[in-house]
Homo-oligomer: 120 residues x 6
Amino acid sequence: MPSPMDEFRRRRAEGHARLVDTEHLGIKRFHRLDADAYADRSAEGRLDARTKELLGLVASAVLRCDDCITYHLEQCVSAGWTLEEIEDALNVALVVGGSITIPHLRRARLTLDELFAQRD
Amino acid sequence: MPSPMDEFRRRRAEGHARLVDTEHLGIKRFHRLDADAYADRSAEGRLDARTKELLGLVASAVLRCDDCITYHLEQCVSAGWTLEEIEDALNVALVVGGSITIPHLRRARLTLDELFAQRD
Amino acid sequence: MPSPMDEFRRRRAEGHARLVDTEHLGIKRFHRLDADAYADRSAEGRLDARTKELLGLVASAVLRCDDCITYHLEQCVSAGWTLEEIEDALNVALVVGGSITIPHLRRARLTLDELFAQRD
Amino acid sequence: MPSPMDEFRRRRAEGHARLVDTEHLGIKRFHRLDADAYADRSAEGRLDARTKELLGLVASAVLRCDDCITYHLEQCVSAGWTLEEIEDALNVALVVGGSITIPHLRRARLTLDELFAQRD
Amino acid sequence: MPSPMDEFRRRRAEGHARLVDTEHLGIKRFHRLDADAYADRSAEGRLDARTKELLGLVASAVLRCDDCITYHLEQCVSAGWTLEEIEDALNVALVVGGSITIPHLRRARLTLDELFAQRD
Amino acid sequence: MPSPMDEFRRRRAEGHARLVDTEHLGIKRFHRLDADAYADRSAEGRLDARTKELLGLVASAVLRCDDCITYHLEQCVSAGWTLEEIEDALNVALVVGGSITIPHLRRARLTLDELFAQRD
């Protein structure tokens, strides 16, 4: 039986494949721009990928998008952020975004349990 | 004649003083919680203040609050982030939040000009 | 010299007059529905106008619209809510909506000062 | 087994029936106003229904409401908009609303597959 | 078989337990502040719990968070608000927040059916 | 003395010049993507520029960004949409987005007065 995280990955991949299977240049280019925004630019005096994944997580949390939160949690764990650090970033989102973010943070916490269990 | 940044600081201080001059414990405690969220917790294995100011900036930008953006830009510049790094963080906000954030990013750019001029 | 509140009332009346000076039935009807939503319905076992003005205030605060906040503050003060009660309602908005509402609450506090001064 | 679109229609109809089965005039009138907003007004020098369904779709996409997006996609396909045209409208929503809309656009793409399959 | 409301309560409790099982003081304190915001303060000349639950409901509805709406509906029914009064509060949310709130109001209506059935 | 519209154009141009005067490729590319999204694609079986300006207007109105509304109103008037058609599009935004959009629609109405006066 697939875990919630596996199920998320499958649905995300399916939808993504359909969305970018298009002749529309704007949609294709936006996806490239989106990927580029999180690339490591520390060699150019800009930010590293790790920091930007945390920015993406907090932006997703205050805008209250579960899919985006799950995706960035996955990237943050891969990038080596610890549970304590991710919790502290989510606390910034909680204070900025208020109690309306709490249902998303509850789901994020369960996702983190699964992500750290898969990693170990 | 006061600069836009000076005028912002004066109005912010005036409103802040009135808002927290209250018997309401909830409002006082929220302000304390807000300040605490950006405190350095690196000694506890959490995030440093510098990283959290950048998180606060991106959260403010995607939620499109000029006053919050201006405040966190000020903190980010004080914390030593360079123009190139701040621009890269704002680019994450632009991609996540879309063109609706652009008017705020234009004003943020002019604010950055003033903040770096004041610092130098 | 007009006070901020007087200036707000003048601009609001000017824009309102232009917006509803239209042949568009939808726009006219929406304005009627909007006014009706705050009418006293306690005789029908529903809510009184006073409670609904407080609901309108909190909705405006979490959606972060200064003009709407100012308008509902005016109505709440007219309806007899005290400063302590309005502050408590705004605290609900602060907790639900987070620190991103704070700049609006600062301005709301200054508006309340003016409204209570005008009333007395 | 019901398709996702059939399941959406069933749940929507069930909730709709309960919501408008009320004595509350405001709720009833809002539903009428909502339906009227998309009616053909081209004979009065205003917009046709077709254009307004596209407006409703883009508004729903930038506000990130899956049920609203699905509903307007259904109306847009019925109104004769092609996949290429709908994609171009969704691209406007993507640029205005940013990457936070992408999970909704992925689901919209799968919905479009089903709607065009049902039509053909 | 658990009802939708029972299922909601189970998932909410599970996520809540994980989220607050933390060393992070900010997250713990925010939860306390959140609970306090709805406490009865009428003895201090502020608002009673009943009124504040209605404020929380309308705030949740205009911000379009189903979990928050469900939670506050439960509290409003416990606090003794009638269906007619809750409907009137939701109508304020509908007018302020527009048709984009309708899918949430449909689900809220079904939740109310279940809550009043459980109570009786 | 500059009109509100002239003043808007001056400030917008000033901020825009600073924002895109950057080495950051992401920010430059986003601006190109933004411009492209409104280009005429009717020759490719997609939408014409005129329709997409109306989509941009409604997206801006429901997201409640005055600068974006003003910009798209300008484009819509240039593209030949009449006052009656633009009003009908704004009515869709009003119904979808609710009364919280009304302060923006009031300002939009005054902007339309100025734009049609400048055109004639």
